[in-house]
Symmetry: D2
Amino acid sequence: MTNVLPEHVENLRTRTHDFIREVVIPAEPRPGARLTDEAKAGLQQQARAAGVFAPHVPVEFGGQGLEIEYWSPVFQEAGYSPIGASVLNCMAPDEGNMHMLNLIGTDDQKIRYLTPLAAGEVRSSFAMTEPHPGAGSDPDALMTTAELRGERWSISGRKRFISGADGAGFFIVMARTPAVEGAKAGATMFLVDAANPGVRLGRHIHTIDRAIGGGHPHVDFEDCLVDRDAVLGEVGLGFRYAQVRLGPARLTHCMRWLGLARRSLDIALDRIGQRQIFGAPIDELGIAQEMIAQSVIDIETSDAIITKTAGLLATDGKAGSAMSSIAKVYCSEAVNRVIDRSIQLCGGDGVSDDLPLASYLNEVRPFRIYDGSNETHKWVISRRASARRKKAVEHGEPFLATLYDDEENTHS
Amino acid sequence: MTNVLPEHVENLRTRTHDFIREVVIPAEPRPGARLTDEAKAGLQQQARAAGVFAPHVPVEFGGQGLEIEYWSPVFQEAGYSPIGASVLNCMAPDEGNMHMLNLIGTDDQKIRYLTPLAAGEVRSSFAMTEPHPGAGSDPDALMTTAELRGERWSISGRKRFISGADGAGFFIVMARTPAVEGAKAGATMFLVDAANPGVRLGRHIHTIDRAIGGGHPHVDFEDCLVDRDAVLGEVGLGFRYAQVRLGPARLTHCMRWLGLARRSLDIALDRIGQRQIFGAPIDELGIAQEMIAQSVIDIETSDAIITKTAGLLATDGKAGSAMSSIAKVYCSEAVNRVIDRSIQLCGGDGVSDDLPLASYLNEVRPFRIYDGSNETHKWVISRRASARRKKAVEHGEPFLATLYDDEENTHS
Amino acid sequence: MTNVLPEHVENLRTRTHDFIREVVIPAEPRPGARLTDEAKAGLQQQARAAGVFAPHVPVEFGGQGLEIEYWSPVFQEAGYSPIGASVLNCMAPDEGNMHMLNLIGTDDQKIRYLTPLAAGEVRSSFAMTEPHPGAGSDPDALMTTAELRGERWSISGRKRFISGADGAGFFIVMARTPAVEGAKAGATMFLVDAANPGVRLGRHIHTIDRAIGGGHPHVDFEDCLVDRDAVLGEVGLGFRYAQVRLGPARLTHCMRWLGLARRSLDIALDRIGQRQIFGAPIDELGIAQEMIAQSVIDIETSDAIITKTAGLLATDGKAGSAMSSIAKVYCSEAVNRVIDRSIQLCGGDGVSDDLPLASYLNEVRPFRIYDGSNETHKWVISRRASARRKKAVEHGEPFLATLYDDEENTHS
Amino acid sequence: MTNVLPEHVENLRTRTHDFIREVVIPAEPRPGARLTDEAKAGLQQQARAAGVFAPHVPVEFGGQGLEIEYWSPVFQEAGYSPIGASVLNCMAPDEGNMHMLNLIGTDDQKIRYLTPLAAGEVRSSFAMTEPHPGAGSDPDALMTTAELRGERWSISGRKRFISGADGAGFFIVMARTPAVEGAKAGATMFLVDAANPGVRLGRHIHTIDRAIGGGHPHVDFEDCLVDRDAVLGEVGLGFRYAQVRLGPARLTHCMRWLGLARRSLDIALDRIGQRQIFGAPIDELGIAQEMIAQSVIDIETSDAIITKTAGLLATDGKAGSAMSSIAKVYCSEAVNRVIDRSIQLCGGDGVSDDLPLASYLNEVRPFRIYDGSNETHKWVISRRASARRKKAVEHGEPFLATLYDDEENTHS
């Protein structure tokens, strides 16, 4: 349990570190602009050549085969550039979709969907969220349905805020399914080609983040017909798989954004290292020192809770998923604080396009809402803590809230 | 790098967990009272029998031989009771003194000082802090001196806030020494018996914490004569050793107090689990849920940064010591928040002696000041971050604060 | 609406400022000790002579006749010493009881109860809180009852956490009353002499605050008989009066504690003004400056919200009472922060008895719980905001959460 | 000192309230878009007709003649729409320029500059900030100079971040002047027509805010010749006037943005009032209630400190200007928090263009940096507090940091 990384991990981390600085940062678009598909393709080619492409993907699908407990140092290096994860093909939502396809897809599904996705040839999208009052923070409210008609499933329903949908090659669609052929009623996941005539891309929801290619549009499914082998995993177990996907997906967001927080602090340190105010170097001035120290603390504690969660995910998926709620809330807020402080340290330039910090802030702000809002996670964290404690006391842990003056107290 | 503890660690953790609940908690004095020496001796005897005594001490000195990277889970269990660490003989300042004696003491010194200390037969004290303007947060200001007179050193100076001094069997005293016999001028540590006639115990400084036996008195050294073999480590290297001591000592404080934070949350959960307000169980009410969730997050992130720091201390003392500043600031504040919220959740009983929470708060409040105030650590953390970044840029990391409009900018 | 105080207020404020510094501060007991009754009586005599006694009490009852909108500057001066409000006879709970007696007492009740209370000859207590699950934060749960038997009321029930009860001359007791003689069923307040044989003082609840004379004991009422003229105000309107009492009572707590916060900051400024660290005066070091600035901001904003609330209470009791929830939450937390920072700025002395700061912290910590816990107030504040906004929209305010893409949206 | 507004103020506030809701809100551009000059002119015409135009401008210049201590309620109403202040012609930087022209301009200057500015016929700009290392947060570093050549001044220097410069009709330029004709060396303000051939508009600095018309460009002055009567106020007193301008200008920012914070909370309340999650209305859920309550507290305390500061500015400009630093830091952070929470309460829509909240956040974020960064203000606040306390002790206030055990202490 020391922090020394195995050699293959340290090597990949170092290669990624160097690749980001030598290749990716010089190619970053200016604040407000997006990376073009052509530029991305060229950078991905260089990433393959440098041996840093798709770090989390098994070697047989063209990746670096990194174990989940070691994703963090490498994903943080990727996230040091806002386009790093896209270039390395470990960006949401594709990264989570690859992870899930690898875990529960059939061999045929892996060949058909995982192979091109891992290779960066197509993008994908995860279609779960629905317009109010459908499935949002509350998955039980799922309104999209699928019903079996002979050898095909017909999917109907509206989805919204489907990140990456525009330009995606396929969707993983969550739909409510009835009890059928021995499977219980529940939710089921389907692999649906974007070209399926039952798929219709709707209005884009324009948000302040830009890093996820394909935006956040509405997507409608209207009598969308797919074969039986489009079912991902087993019928009726969709929500269980969603948890399998969401725990790591939440955590990789933390890793990537933490890389961007490190970048932000470095920008601020570089900036204020050159400057003087009131006749003293700014980084010698205490109010700046307070801010720098708090940012360092935010970064190191975020790193630590990510490491802890990743370790749990590797050995105990359920505990890891529960811990990922904690990591998500903490890191999403810590990362916001770090970038916000860096802006403040850079003064007027911090809120201008002359530095990328303001655009970083807009990039990470939604992360406190996406993947389950922090408030929803806190509600879950609290209920879990209460339930676990009640159970522990029932199983023999001493009850600790007896007032000391019990005897007198019974008379008062 | 998964979180699974080795079997011997998990076993010791479980034994400690059970011992605290079955033996220690029932023996806790009421808020405001202190554990008597007799009661402590009896509990220590039971701890030896239960195989949980002195977890951090090498087996040859009667301890459990736990490696530093595994101290945290066991020390947290000890700290679940405010008297737990004393009973298990892993309380400050003895625990840090044992650690240092074991690392740099001669065999004779170990026999004479470490053996009885590890056995719980004597207590010890670390005499570094001095009255203003002497060595406080700023060790360079050290005013106590030692000079070599033939075969003996004569130590003179006043120390204050010497935790554990009253009743201690010996002191480790930091004094300024001149260049002598090949050693550079600097600070040197001396082992001084409390019975030495040159030692005089002064006024106690009454503080709001109670957990450290022996209080925080002044101690004066007046022509205090010790033999040459009283030098701990080498002459002139005292500050280097102080860092060796302080990194782990800071971190074990974090571990113990985190145990107490867990206890506080459990008290609050037990308390509010029974209660209703506005017709609903309190732990279903969202404002309470917000507080519970924040406390869980504080506890888990504190645990994570401690684990990270302990892992570093095991492999890279210097990096570990630097990280311990971060852990100290974060954990001391997190622990305060957790206990404070638990008080709030318990209402009027929380600030009364009917529950121990208010006494816990007074116990941990000073930790934000002791072992270097958090502000001093933040100052250090910030300076280190600035210096490291400057060095990195000098060594080839890209400078990141160039304004985008460089060209235009040169005209503006 | 400028901030210039009328001359009579400014004069009283100045007199109080000087009296506190010249007479009260030199007489303060050391941390942990209490002011003796004899010492208090002597100081009160001096306060009368100095024309600063009972600032809020009408002149005809021996006070200074200050209007409620001007209490704040004078009460803050009083609160600059932890014993100041007791000496000036404007301490809780007496101060709130005087205010209520003056507003709703009969002439006879004023002569019998208000006159000696205002003169500092007796203390009083407000008996509303009950053991769980009785009236605590939730007044609807009131379990103490009173029933009319001929010409006397018989009161029965148990009260707890009755601040000031030990040694009080009389109680104002809240009890549930049935519909009787035209009055609706509800709660009613009764004036009960402490000597009444139906009153029994119970166990004290030992809390960390010391400033309220008479502690926080349990009080039982067992067939406690009082005459009809013991009813304070009208039968059945007890809760309405409680609100009349609680709004100002909450706010005067804010005023007094804000005075203590000012004292704490002054202690810290005096302390660090003398000191150097790292070769620079501490108050030139930025991390200290950050803390000082935040404390100044906390103090000035607390002062401002108190002024706003006091102004409202003077002209619109209901709005003022609602605003007092906001002031209470804000000021109780701000005052805690200010004292906590002052402790931190004073280092080890801050947590010792050599300075009074740690005792101040214990004094004000309960204020976040007393008078309705801050969480309860936040719950109320939030519900009021939601209800008011709903009503405003119903009455014509534009509804503001229509999504921009309404039209498209209807298709998506 | 009650809070009841005089009738003429309450009437203007009500008219403004209604005008914003009936006329301005329906005309707001969508997020990201700007108000066109034509649209603004039309709305300003309606504002004149409604008797709400230029509330702070003397009646003789076409305004409503509101006294500074009553600006807050009216400016908050204006700020309830992000375009409100522009429509009512009380937006920065024009509003501050009008205020200063009215206070220190000559009659001729008022006719030539204030009249058209107050009428909304031209915009203006305040040119003080310079490129690093010139005057930024530190006005002493002023590098732009003016020298007297016969009957004309020649101004030379570069300014940057000159808000509103693009399209402005004239500038108020701060330049360093030598000792001349009895005036001391110092800084002097000049009125410079934008059409002056010595004025050259430079590169725009693109920032995340949009509300200030005319952007934040660089402006160069190259041998820019103006007549003697272009001096605003007296030669050499420029910084003193800058303080006259900046105190109120900072505070009116607080007022306007506080209006926008109110709007944001209303949006969130409207939004969540309609929604359910986990089967309960969101505004009944405690974690939301916590956020709502904190926002209400932020709004009311901001309002209170603004009122306090405005009252001071009306009677004691120097004290008011000092207090405006406190108000600026507090309100700029409170407003950010309120908008940020409202975004969080609205979930994914909160970070999308379907609601205006994300654009509001970008609008107010720079306010923590503009007009002196909050860190600079905190530095000033802290130094003022230290200096004031030292002076008070020198003048007889008791020194409060003597340790209790003085006597013993002298021996220890």
